[in-house]
Symmetry: C2
Subunit: 365 residues, 2 copies
């Protein structure tokens, strides 16, 4: 069985404006490590289990060069561009087809580990043990496998997975039959979820034999299974036009909605490593060390009488002097050509600025 | 009688960091007009009364080039550099000596109008009428004359002048004998000052015949009178070394303390034009137009749900995108290489940032 890693990295990353931009999305930022991009961390984290030559990044065409330039530790040919944006279902069908063509396999000899590049994962060795368990489950049971993260708080921003009975009582890293996938809850429900102990955060990571993926697709979205096989054949023959035509005809739909929620058998492996979706600037509060005043600071800003704030000087102190005086609970982000200031509790509203700048037709902001 | 204008422009302007810097102090900023530097405005405002060829800027050596480059509308030779920093007493002694040498005059044929370049003055024609009155008072009475601004509010940041009996009952622009100069008051006293109607803001503008200036100096600070004459002679002879040596030996003292508070006769002319010392970023609230949410904005920032704030994008929207979301009562200033964020009520504390940056030995910040 050949195991391959698939890293989905097509996000646009507006929530980290002004550091994230169209050509520098979140996964190419150093938000979780001072030294490595999130995508680079994702490759490194997986490497002891799946060596980089078998790891593929699926992304948009405009990000192929930026990713190659970022030096994320992959062979150049392993950064593959979707011909269009067709959400996660399209991206994974494309990745599966690419693997079948590249390894000249009908899908029965390939296991895919689909991991993310825009989440924080603490404890990489525990992560790998969990992934190893998930891969074994996928390979032995011919099922779709996902990771369910033990929730650390009643988060209303994540989807949840309900999983009750363990398949393997007493295992260090247990697997469960998935009872249900649930959309983002309100606060009351989120609290109930966490208290019940049977609900987990939907991590967006998936593990399956390509043959099992295709079999479940046949059931849930037959045209998507067919399109995957068509693309695999076309890729093997080098018929790029057919690949593109087939891909562009796909619907824009998430893999959760297209497949996971419809699949006959989905197994969840319990993930107890620290995990965060790093969904907005406030995520740095949960993921980065703080000074004595509760501030998270990058790029050496001057902070005077400032508390519980996030001050991110992306340009660095040599190029940009950032001074914050007498502020509490704010986010200040400075790059060489942009500045963002907002209270922490408005972190999601960075989109308002991005939209306003788009409305002005400021290119590339 | 030859009238000359003297504009003191030696300030360091830390309170407007990061827009003001060592080589670009407040008087070279466009804080009160979108088109003209404050120094340029000062020259233009005076021009109908005293033409630019008779107006001199006294400044530090490091500011001569920046002022010439800023194009403030003066002949190049009229930007004169003090050999060292010796406060306003030194600057005015130097300016008087320079005038005596330049006009080959013993002081009895020259009247100086000493005006500022770092204050906002509304209603320029009323300003000129007031200056004309002050010059006439100086020339007819051989006295030191100052302008006292009718206080608009109980400001604790300004010095006050107490003036009770008008010299010329019923004049449109009356003159008074000065009873007392007063330091910055506390809030209670400031309120009493404003209510009494006999207290005025000390504007830092002075008018005198150089002979009267020297005569009062003989009385209050004889060595300063002597040094002024020595420098005038040395300048006439081109003995720069003697000028420098004499100047450097002067004490570092303000003209208020050295002369005005000690002088035998000081006349105050009542100034009823709008005036503001533009002492900190919050001054823009008093001097600039606001949007419907009470914001003062420059450089086209994106403001969303932001109220009563001052957002100054010095780099301009083409070079720097500034976005502020959900903030009230803050100051956000961005330049190409620095960012400042603070609540309005901490505007004076910008010095903390400047000091911290100096402590890091960041050059020229």
């Amino acid at each position: 069985m050949q195991r391959i890693g698939i890293i989905m990295a097509g996000g646009s990353g507006e929530r980290f404006w002004p550091v994230s931009r169209k050509h520098r999305p979140k996964q190419l930022l150093k938000l979780t490590s001072p030294d490595e991009t999130m995508l680079g961390e994702s490759v490194s984290r997986l490497a002891p289990l799946i060596p980089p030559e078998h790891v593929y990044v699926v992304t948009g065409e405009h990000l192929v060069e930026p990713i190659r330039e970022a030096g994320v530790g992959l062979p150049e040919g392993n950064v593959i561009a979707e011909p269009a944006k067709r959400n996660t279902a399209g991206a994974l069908a494309y990745a599966a087809a690419h693997a079948m063509a590249a390894y000249n396999d009908d899908g029965s000899g390939l296991t895919m580990a689909v991991v993310t590049a825009d989440h924080l994962i603490g404890n990489p060795s525990r992560f790998r043990a969990t992934v190893e368990t998930a891969l074994e489950q996928a390979e032995t049971r011919d099922a779709l496998v996902t990771l369910g993260v033990v929730p650390a708080r009643p988060e209303t921003g994540y989807g949840y997975i309900c999983a009750v009975a363990p398949l393997d009582e007493g295992a260090d890293i247990p697997a469960y039959e998935v009872a249900e996938f649930l959309e983002k809850p309100d606060e009351e429900r989120a609290r109930q979820f966490v208290e019940s102990g049977s609900y987990y955060w939907n991590s967006g990571m998936f593990f399956w034999k390509i043959s099992a993926f295709l079999a479940e697709l046949e059931h849930a979205r037959p045209h998507l299974a067919e399109a995957t096989r068509t693309m695999a054949d076309a890729m093997a023959k080098g018929d790029d036009a057919l690949v593109r035509r087939t891909f562009e005809a796909l619907e824009d739909i998430s893999i959760d909605y297209a497949l996971m929620e419809q699949a006959r058998e989905v197994i969840m492996v319990r993930a107890d490593f620290p995990w965060d979706d790093v969904g907005a600037w406030t995520a740095l509060d949960r993921t980065q060390p703080k000074d004595e005043q509760g501030n998270v600071a990058a790029g050496d800003p001057v902070l005077a009488d400032t508390r519980n704030s996030i001050v991110f000087n992306d340009a660095g102190a040599g190029k940009m002097a950032v001074g914050v005086v007498g502020m509490d609970d704010v986010i200040v982000v400075a790059t060489e050509d942009a500045v963002l200031v907002m209270p922490k509790d408005r972190a999601q509203d960075v989109r308002k600025v991005v939209q306003a700048l788009k409305d002005r037709q400021a290119p590339q902001r």
